[in-house]
Symmetry: C3
Subunit: 314 residues, 3 copies
């Protein structure tokens, strides 16, 4: 599953110049990025990047992703250009390309974009000279969320090999699940899925475990957020019924392996996919994931700026 | 009226770890904070706090309070995480607690919150490890507004003892009035009220003065903003009628004591509670109050961060 | 056309203390400002202004102007107070004057304002002690847009004397056109107009050229944006028809003089006033204009702060 593009050796070795999808990242490049993120985690005295500008273009609401990028940018010493989607010329009908080209002209050195259009970035990377970081596109990719999940697992188990990971819930509508499933398998983990069978594509059937078996198999239970706002198919069961049948409650959590952990991309629907009392339990790594989000975004920003500028090697 | 919690001696001596209500502040702690604010007023060369993050969560519209906090934060060298209530995950139904916990995880060192729910902060301070500053809750408290009023009076008279203060107007719906009345009395001032009698609770009746007597008694006329947007009881009189009967106009201002001053939390409804021409008159301290707002917020931020971090003593 | 106010000699020599309209600027003062902007263009190592605050008050949507000011401010080392028009006390009915006076009290050293009221700034400059920069008022003035157009022309031809400039399109509704026409003529350029005759006032008739003659005459084709959102008079022709008759397409561009260039204030309505393929063609200076926008705004900010503070001479 690793891409072996003989004609793009540098890309395969050191990671792509933009950060768009996890498929663009070789196992080697992923490991290098995680090491860099861990280095930031271990060294609170961060190296500031002087006089470089980042702009965060969030065309969909977000707290944690936007602020996490902002914290990462400020931690690195980057300056911000405060783009506001709802008062921008985009409402006069300006295209995304023209908007980003404007930001480049004004002085942005890197742009982070969340947009509801799948693969919004394709037109941009062809024609722009600054790196683009995908902060989430449509139902597609969300690479920095994947990276933070990976860093959290790596901190926990020191490896991905033969770690049993169950992704549970609304996989069909989850950016996180799609990005994670492939990359975790590439890194050597055993990936299972759980949740309502009607939410799984056919190709996931062979990985499916009933919830009772899932909790006993998993080293990591990756619970997904029920995306009420995206659901086209009606939920057969109400929230209480869902919680009982497919959610993780205290009774099921008690049957998990001693060192197994619970992850969730947040925000949590408390008592739907995950019991309220488990969110801050000993097994939970949910707030650890948020902290790691800042470190991987620092690593990702540093990565693309180093590729671009060629002179920021620490 | 001073809280003598024998089991919380440090709190009583040096002020609380969060800034939530004026009741939590002993007279001693109030004086200490005002001295600190005055120190900032006197020393334009401010000490920067490196690599600390503040986040301002304003769930209600505000110009002066939000920007005043922002100026105070930047003056101290704090960095900002730009939270925007209207594009945050709160609109996906995330709780205030989960939102603030996220900010803590991402790296916020102090959080300022304005929220329309009374005592919104109670759940937060129990469970979070970063200080919360109340930027205004419901119809309840607004401690930094109280502190700036106090600093302004202290600059004017050098003391609170036997200073005659008249709070005039819509006391029932005013955050400022509630916080101020108690604390001014605790500090030794003589506090009176004026304005429409139907806007006073029964317990205020004994302090009530008719406007004609109030202007001759006051060292400080604290005019309140008519909160049109909060009023549940209809105003008996229109704005003109209100101005004539309960507002402060030039004719009444002329009868004030020679050194008496006019204060107002702003924004002013010009020619309703206060005549247009008095807003920037010699007696007015309205823009001085705004300047002092930045100094007290610097002092408040420094106070909570010192309590938290234990190492920022200048 | 130069204002020779004998009683305001300093203003005429060094430019006004506020930046409001191009009429306030003498030819001398314009040249001085352009030299300063060019100096910033030539010296990427910019001089930071420590501990000074700028506030950008944009009461109308904008991407490029707001972010361009922000980049200019940050490049100079100014700090920002983040004013948000839509959550400010302005929605409680506070006047623009009271809002800006508040910002001054809180610590703003310079304020940039875009507002839909013509000459919104008149009341402000009389009564405030900080400089105001006009970021666009009503259908009236937009001086920093004019300055960036001027800098771009100056970089291209080294002079304005006898440069043939055609302003084409919706001159009647364009801030840019109004500000530019007068000032270009004052600087020695030959200014023509083109586009639908019904969009020209009578006083422009003598400058009017048909599009076919305009493209052969021009050293600079300044294409204007069709302001769909401002148009009170219905466009006689649809966008395709407009493009054919009054827009600039490849066929017409091919007939321009060898060194002639295309300018546009952006955002472009692609294939209406300007062919898609010309936006990033060799003749286009559109993205150069955006870069220059940051340099002229740096120069303008430095100019007003030097006038105000009297001590920032480099």
């Amino acid at each position: 599953m690793i891409r072996m593009d003989a004609d793009k050796p540098i890309k395969t070795e050191t990671g792509p110049a933009h950060v768009l999808t996890m498929e663009d990242w070789s196992v080697d490049a992923i490991h290098k990025l995680l090491e860099k993120a861990q280095w930031f985690a271990d060294h609170p005295e961060k190296l500031p990047l002087q006089r470089l500008y980042a702009a965060n273009l969030f065309f969909e609401p977000s707290t944690r992703t936007k602020l996490s990028f902002e914290a990462a940018e400020r931690n690195l010493g980057l300056d911000l250009l405060h783009f506001e989607a709802d008062t921008s010329s985009v409402i006069k009908g300006e295209s995304l390309y023209d908007t980003v080209k404007t930001l480049e002209s004004i002085g942005a050195d890197v742009v982070v974009i969340r947009h509801d259009r799948d693969r919004f970035f394709e037109e941009l990377t062809e024609k722009l000279n600054i790196p683009i970081i995908n902060g989430g596109d449509g139902c597609g990719h969300h690479p920095t969320q994947s990276f933070l999940d990976l860093l959290t697992i790596r901190q926990e188990f020191g490896t991905f090999s033969n770690v049993n990971i169950v992704i549970a819930g609304d996989i069909f509508h989850s950016r996180v699940a799609r990005s994670n499933l492939d990359v975790l398998e590439r890194l050597g983990a055993n990936v299972y899925v759980s949740g309502p069978k009607e939410w799984m594509g056919d190709e996931l059937e062979k990985r499916w475990l009933p919830m009772d078996e899932a909790v006993e198999t998993a080293d990591v239970m990756m619970m997904l957020r029920i995306q009420h706002e995206r659901h086209t198919v009606k939920m057969a069961a109400g929230p209480d019924e869902y919680h009982k049948r497919f959610g993780l409650n205290e009774e099921k959590a008690a049957r998990m392996k001693p060192d197994a952990v619970i992850m969730h991309p947040a925000p949590v629907n408390r008592n739907v996919e995950l019991a309220d009392t488990l969110v801050e339990s000993d097994r939970s790594r949910i707030f650890k994931q948020m902290k790691n989000g800042v470190f991987v975004r620092m690593a990702v920003l540093r990565h693309v700026l180093e590729k671009q500028k060629g002179c920021l090697n620490q």
